[in-house]
């Protein structure tokens, strides 16, 4: 993993290259053009090798000689230059702040934030860097993490076991945070905060030598960056523990394979080696968990997943089929049927053993 300073220099160089390209064409008396990887659905393809969605080879051309595009062209460069200033100053701004800043730009204000957000995506796709690298951060904080990890945010050093009962909150600027020391041997990420706090109470982090991450549902970009760094930078296996329903499945899948919508940046977000450990349809039967009937919406969603290339593995196809046959689903907290400690004492050890058998 490159150091913050190197990354900063790499980003500034990308922006310089963008500017130089435009200047070159202007000097040669040609109307400048930008080549922007197309993000339309027809240009999103599943990369079997890496196990996530990537953009295909198609480009859109934004030309300064087109009356319809010249303004957008100028706006794109304004966004780029705004990012350059931020990166240079080591500051961050949210997308919304940028949207408001644009009121004072020469190109005039944007119609709505969607318009300026799309330009940020253009820039990410064009430069192959994520918005966080362009010093634009998401609104929301990431999830919480608890375990034997020491981090440094600028001058401050934080021990994730001493950051309060809720653990360390992953900030939107997680890429700026340095991992100083880590004693944990694995990461267990759980879907609900209910389960997160259960694991903390049972001191699961100690028991499993694990960093416990509370996803709070669909994982934020910062959380996914954290998981990716833990996996690639610290070399920790990542285990995902979600509800036993199609939505739980997909929360895990987005972490593993990324989303189609962010195909242009999945190489920075996907954690292809993360593993889903449960709750599986098989678990529902084997642990005889309390269940709910699948709603119509669940069934439709499961059928959708069946066709999704990300689920084209023997494991997933089997689990989806079994859940459809059962017609039932179960939440991760359903293990409380056997007592609050059961999930830490029995279920997780069994699942982790099973998962690590293949690795070690």
């Amino acid at each position: 993993m490159e150091r913050g300073k190197e990354r900063k220099e790499r980003i500034l160089e990308e922006l310089r290259k963008l500017g130089r390209g435009v200047l070159q064409e202007l000097r040669e008396g040609r109307p400048p053009r930008l080549r922007i990887p197309s993000r339309g659905t027809s240009n999103i393809v599943y990369d079997e090798e890496h196990g996530y969605y990537v953009l295909g080879p198609r480009y859109e051309v934004r030309s300064a000689s087109s009356m319809a595009q010249v303004k957008k062209f100028a706006q794109t460069l304004c966004v780029a230059d705004f990012c350059r200033e931020l990166v240079k100053a080591g500051k961050f701004a949210t997308l919304r702040e940028m949207y408001y800043t644009a009121e004072g730009w020469e190109t005039g204000p944007f119609r709505d934030q969607d318009e300026s957000d799309l330009l940020v995506e253009d820039l990410e796709a064009m430069l192959g860097v994520k918005r966080e690298d362009l010093a634009l951060m998401p609104e929301e904080d990431g999830a919480a993490v608890f375990g034997e990890l020491v981090l440094r945010e600028g001058e401050v050093t934080i021990d994730a076991t001493k950051a309060g009962r809720g653990g360390y909150t992953i900030p939107p600027t997680i890429d700026e945070v340095e991992f100083v020391r880590c004693r944990a041997k694995r990461v267990i990420a759980v879907e609900t905060m209910g389960m997160y706090h259960r694991l903390l109470q049972e001191e699961a982090w100690k028991k499993f030598d694990a960093l416990i991450v509370g996803l709070k549902g669909q994982a934020a970009r910062a959380t996914r960056r954290f998981l990716k760094r833990a996996n690639e930078e610290l070399g920790l296996p990542v285990y995902l523990f979600c509800d036993g329903d199609p939505f739980g499945f997909h929360i895990a899948m987005v972490i593993i394979s990324g989303s189609a919508k962010l195909a242009y940046i999945n190489h920075e977000l996907a954690v292809p080696r993360a593993r889903f450990i449960g709750v599986t349809a098989t678990d529902i039967v084997e642990y005889d968990l309390p269940t709910d009937k699948l709603r119509e919406l669940d069934i439709a969603r499961l059928k959708q997943l069946q066709r999704d290339p990300r689920y084209h593995t023997e494991f997933w196809q089997g689990e989806i089929r079994r859940m459809l046959e059962l017609g039932r689903k179960a939440e991760q907290q359903a293990f409380a049927k056997y007592g609050l400690e059961y999930v830490v004492e029995e279920y997780l050890p069994a699942k982790l053993r099973e998962a690590e058998r293949g690795i070690s």
Partner: protein
């Protein structure tokens, strides 16, 4: 024995012309409180304009409309001109006798033609207010004559009620009429609108209007050139009817038919010989002996023959330049164009000329609460036609123009169409003279004239759109390209380049125009 018929015809008596019109005032345009007032103004102003024209004077016409007492429908109208004046002995006949005048028996283009106009106005005043007309006139001989005149309806004769003569300078005629059951307002049918239109068609006239509330409106003179007086014109052979030929021959003072036919317009000795050859009618016979059957053969021969275009010497069109000037002054439009078409003829070889002008933008077009649209100004021999628009050939001909082809929508586009029909004999649909009959030749000419001018307007609109697009295009690039250059150089950390070559390229200014 007295038959039933005898009984029925006991009451039969000959009505005088004025008695007839008293009972049929509507035919003369005296219908409705607004229209009646406008008709009175029209008759007086028309007379003044014709008189000035014949005398070669630049007309200066004042119209005053004042309230009499408390009744808002009781008005006194005065129209004064700087024309040649009227010799005293003619005053009772001009104002007090119908179907009298200098025009009816001549084929001559003038605004009035039937000799019932001003006496009709006098009659209207008389039957609504009971007051005679007050006439003051001077021929410029240092003597001013003032008379009160009314019409003796039984005998169709002018009656003089008072007479005053005094020494005075100046020249011109003033007529004052007291009217009841009329209303003054500034609507489409008002004297205001009427005079405004008159001014457009008579750019050589200066017209002042004083409204009942004291407001004074001046329609200024735009050109300082008096139109040449029209001249009597002979009939044109093509399109003549047998009946017209017979009428001509009956009253002929020539000895032979050939000599009589030479009175026709564009007729030459050789053409007479050609007509004789084609028709087999002998040209040396006495004109009075021409039979119906021979007349028909002659008409047939004329149809096959070629003649020079009809003479327009008697026609006095306003002229393209004057129409354009006038429309410019009135509307301050973005675009103006006009055409004066070549003379054509209709029915019995009666020559006519269609003139048509269009003004686009500025104050042109119909201005109503619902928005803009096409405004149509109709004129016959420069006199505005403001009533009976629906039944008029000008309206129907212009309605049938496919305006869309010229980039115009009569419902929304701001344009005014000015149409003047010049003819020695305008085929009005009624004695009210507010709409023109649907003669096929006139209809066609109107359409052609509209298309002539609309083509020019289309070109203008097309260029304007192109120009606007080009400017918009240039504007957009001029705004954003410098930003692109500045931002790119800021990103690259290099000096901004000269963007003029690219700017020229993308604004399209490099290839040709601009």
């Amino acid at each position: 024995m007295r038959t039933l018929a005898d009984e029925l015809f006991k009451e039969f008596k000959e009505h005088s012309v004025s008695e007839f019109f008293r009972k049929n005032a509507a035919m003369l345009g005296y219908t409705g409180k607004v229209r009646s007032l406008t008709t009175v103004v029209h008759e007086a102003v028309t007379n003044s304009l014709d008189a000035c024209e014949e005398a070669g004077i630049l007309p200066d016409i004042k119209v005053e409309i004042r309230r009499v007492g408390e009744d808002p429908e009781h008005l006194r109208v005065a129209v004064e001109d700087n024309g040649p004046g009227i010799p005293e002995r003619f005053i009772p006949r001009v104002f007090g006798k119908m179907l009298a005048g200098t025009k009816l028996h001549r084929l001559l283009q003038q605004r009035g033609q039937q000799g019932i106009g001003i006496s009709g106005a006098v009659m209207f005043a008389q039957i609504t207010s009971g007051k005679p007309a007050l006439i003051r006139t001077s021929t410029g001989d240092g003597k001013v004559v003032e008379m009160e005149v009314s019409i003796n309806l039984d005998r169709n004769e002018g009656e003089v009620h008072s007479r005053r003569v005094w020494e005075g300078k100046g020249r011109g005629t003033r007529i004052e009429l007291e009217l009841k059951e009329v209303v003054y307002q500034r609507s489409r049918y008002s004297p205001f609108h009427y005079l405004r239109m008159t001014s457009v068609a008579n750019p050589h006239a200066r017209i002042t209007l004083e409204e009942p509330d004291g407001t004074r409106v001046v329609f200024e003179r735009v050109v300082r050139e008096v139109p040449k007086p029209p001249q009597p014109m002979p009939l044109y052979p093509k399109g003549l009817m047998a009946d017209d030929l017979l009428a001509l021959c009956r009253t002929s003072t020539h000895r032979t038919l050939g000599a009589t036919l030479m009175e026709l317009s564009r007729m030459t000795k050789r053409k007479v010989e050609e007509a004789e050859r084609l028709s087999g009618v002998r040209m040396d016979k006495r004109p009075q002996e021409l039979t119906w059957e021979e007349a028909e053969r002659l008409v047939g021969a004329f149809r096959q023959m070629k003649f020079m275009a009809p003479s327009s010497s008697g026609l006095r069109p306003i002229g393209k330049e004057h129409i354009e000037k006038s429309l410019k002054q009135m509307y301050e439009p973005e675009f103006v164009a006009a055409v004066t078409r070549e003379p054509k003829f209709y029915r019995g070889g009666i020559p006519f000329v269609v003139e048509l002008g269009m003004a686009y933008g500025g104050r042109a077009g119909r201005r109503e609460e619902e928005g803009t649209g096409m405004e149509l100004l109709r004129f016959a021999n420069r006199a505005p036609l403001i009533f009976d628009q629906g039944g008029c050939v000008i309206t129907s001909a212009l309605r049938d123009v496919d305006w869309g082809r010229y980039g115009l929508d009569p419902e929304t586009s701001p344009f005014t169409v000015f149409v003047n029909l010049c003819s020695a004999y305008v085929p009005y649909t009624s004695a009210g003279k507010q709409s023109i009959a649907d003669e096929p030749e006139i209809y066609e000419e109107l359409r052609f004239a509209a298309m002539d001018v609309a083509r020019e307007l289309r070109l203008y609109l097309y260029r304007k759109t192109r120009q606007k697009e080009r400017e918009e295009r240039a504007g957009i690039f001029e705004r954003f390209l410098p930003i692109i250059a500045r931002k790119a150089s800021s990103l690259a950390g290099e000096e901004p380049p000269d963007i003029r070559p690219v700017l020229r390229k993308v604004t399209g200014l490099e290839d040709g125009e601009g």
